[in-house]
Amino acid sequence: MKAQAPHLAKQFGDIQGMLRSGYGWLKSSRFLLLTIREGQEEAARAWLAKLVESGVIASAHDVGKSRTHPIERAAAIAFSFLGLTKLGCMETKEHPFPTPFRSGMGSDVRALLLRDNPREWRWSDVDGAACGPVHVLIAEWTPKDAGPLISDVDEAVFCVIRVENDPCSFQKINGEKEEKLIEAFGFRDGLAQPVIQRLRQDDGVGLSEARTEAGSLYDDRVVSAGEFILGYRNEYDELTYCPNVEGWTQSGRAIHPGGRFALNGSYLAVRQIEQDVEAFDAFRAANGQGICEKLMGRQANGLPLGWTSNPKKPTSDSKADAFRYRVEDANGFICPKGAHVRRVNPRDTLGVDVQSSIRSTKLHRLLRRGRPYREQSNGKTHKGIFFIACNADIERQFEFVQQRWVRKPGFVNLHADDPLVGSSDPKTFPKALSMPGLPSGEEVSLASFTTTLGGGYFFLPGIAALNFIVGNESASKSPGSEVAEAAAS
């Protein structure tokens, strides 16, 4: 037998906290996109090292310490492939990074594969209009109305793009006590998240409570850790591939003996999506809220369209997420088959039967950690989503969902793009959506509601790997790592 694979429960201290929690109680969020200026690599590394040392980077262990007194601030750092290279992390020949990450979301070939053409992006992980490629992504979460956590970015070292918080993104609905995340079109967001097996997520609801409320459908959302965290078993029961970088093994920083650089990391597929709220409001005025909900695939308060209980009665997110399509709504009479939510997570819609369909869908789940943002320019307020999807296999997860479900006109034999994030190019397919549940399958014409402003693939390293990247010498080596170091030398 070879060496044992790491036990997830023993690695929480090395996993960045955003993989364990969406920080639902921290209602302010900001994102910094940093490009390291030419010749400033050392200064950049020093600044990042200082940031890491300051203790703002939360680990999964920090997140799980206490449910009654959760952490009051959190940040995460991720790097694009060019960012890692810029900071001196060269992939090894034997264990290079996956091709999609190396080529970058901003590359031409990814534009083709993601059906993104035409693109008019402000920034990407490959190039950018003003600064060049984005090297580092920093996300921070703070309590509502708190000031920014990271405000001292040296602009002589970094070219910075700031994505600011939308203060209206958390609101109370249906008279509930808790404020919930609402995106710019007025719909609840952040529901239907996968539950990572053996990683109890702490977003305010107890595990047994969530399990009881979802009943037998709870298992539909339980996904193997390896689908999101590198180095663990995935839905194929296989250990997810971990790339390595030069010098890592010799550094002796691996928390798990023999663990490669990417262990406990994840890939982030990031997109800045601007939402045309005016256009959507005009559509709502013309067609009514009911049609808007059909378009989205959920009620504005987050309940499924087929919800039969009293909608005003407070319902837990777990219960609201416990539904399938095939048995009750195979023809899309309630939730159209082309609705946005049904496209991004078709649950049991595809496949030959319910079980195989659920199994197959689990191969393509995404852990969403995005938040709404707001920006002021030319006297106008622009709103949107800073979309972040954590996944361990970019090709099988994010790219598959984008290419084969969301942006595929022929998805489940339809002939139109996604109603919300689909192409605005009228030459491709009509911007229209059928409502099979309405008389004669009525069809509505759609405006272009969203525009993607930028995007990139980032690697979210484990804490030890993060210290290695920023050259943080003060971070202690693990006991097991000395063995690995000795073996390597």
Binding site: K93, D237, G338, G351
Partner: protein, 603 residues
Amino acid sequence: MLEIVRQQMICILVPGWDGTTDLSESGSVCNALDALFEEVEVVQFASIALLPARVDAKDSRPSLMLELAIEEGITPYDMLYRLVYHASGAMWSLYSSFWPGDATALQSERNNKLLEKLMAGVSIADGGFIGARDRTARQIKKEQELLQWTRDQARAMKATKQYGDDRAAFALALAQRAFDEPRFDWALDPAPRSYWRGKGAGILAKVGYVLAIFVLYLAAVWLVGAVPRGVLGIYTWLFGAPYSGVQAVVDAVCKASGWVLGVSIRGALALVGLGYLAWLFLVALPAVSKSWRRWLKSVGRELDRPTETWSSWSTYWVGWIVGVPSVVAVVAFALVFIFCPGTIVGAYHALTAKFLGWQIIAFIILAIVALICVVGVLSRIDQQLAAGNWFFHPYEDDVPRAQQVYTSIDYCEGLVVHETAHMISLTDVRRPNGWNAWWIRTSLRIVTLFGRVFFTEGRLGSAPGIHFGHWHIIEEGRRYLFCSNYDGSFGGYLDDFINGATIGTTLAWRWTTLKPRESAAIGQPAVEAPRSFPPTRFIVFRGVRCELKFKSYARDSMLPHMFRFDARKETVDQINLATGLRDALFGERNDSNDDLIMRAIES
């Protein structure tokens, strides 16, 4: 029957490509080929790729491969004749570099040479599957026009809001409009169907076909013995006894015929018996016993498990110690029954002489109860160990250079993202080549038979979206070529195979390996380090279940296309939808047809 399918997918391999012909996308050769395939109408898909030479090959230049997927019922010779002798001369422009300086030769002379060379390089598929069976490119085109017209009409009708919420009335109105449209007169005839999807679709027809063949075979064997005996009898009656030698020969033939007949019948009975046992243990017992079901599932899971664990390792070795001897014993019993039934009869008499009937029955019942108890205990142990976790905890398994895609392959996939995707994979047959090539051929014939007779609705197993998938054993059994065009992305395609056709895919690929090779041209992938197909267990387990290894293996074996022609770009589902709409619009009015029409117009 299999020949019909295999002939539809051919690859023409011409070694010694010198790379002087311009095969750029907008070049004259590719344009001419596009026009040629368009005009001959029977080519549904074509592609060109360069196959790098084997490291041990005498000629290190690559082979030029032309892949053709054509309509049913055309032989490779007819197809190539039609292409080579086409007035456009497109095929000559592709292959002219094999005869440098021969441009001035007579056209007929050139074409003769070319046809001869191409026929020498023809490889008809050793196995294949066609998703949109019984549809021609022309039919698909016409039906797509009907689908598009129906959608446009529906959009216009919805705008008038005349039909309220009556879906049946709406569907009827659409059907009437289609009926009144003269350009769709062709649709009045129902869409043609292959025998196995039409009249032969029932299980009775499929089983009956096999039975009929078997009975005919038995009759033929019986006649081999009966006819000489009859002739000899008539001769003896007419002219008296023949020479003793003739009598001996006839006796031998009769005896041989009787022996073959007996063996065949007992062989069939043994097969039925083995099938019954398989059904009993794999279907019936799991249905009635929860413990058995759970245990069987866990055995399958452990044998398939891609990571090394104590549970998987121990299951595998228990399989060797208990499972394999049991299976060997059953098969040996079946063989004895087939070839030496007297031994079994003797043993039975000996047994009944020693024990009474009720004792034998009691022993069998006790054996079954003991087996169920053992399975129950194993199932219980399984659960207990699961709680401890260590038994199932995985061990590291290094997969070097995983999730890597060569740039030209990535671009090829990106460029056709709105069309059907395409994959060309070239691997080496494992040694001993002859033995493994035989196994591959056998596996592929089974896949082809099942694809032809059972999987007639566009899915191979439960893997959807395959237009054409064909396998070729080339270079005297040394290499293995797989070409396929399909709906979706490469990763999704392989996921479908891993989940939907696990055993078939493992069987088709497990005899191969990937040896180092040079790239065929600048910008084309090379294989620097050898890779093996993921290890299998008991031939059909594991294999493709090792997703990382399997995808890396498949990715590294891939070659980019330099040219591709796709007569129709619709997905298999869209093709089926359009055919269904044709039959629904012009068929009888009922709920099912109305529903299909309304589904077809959804956006």
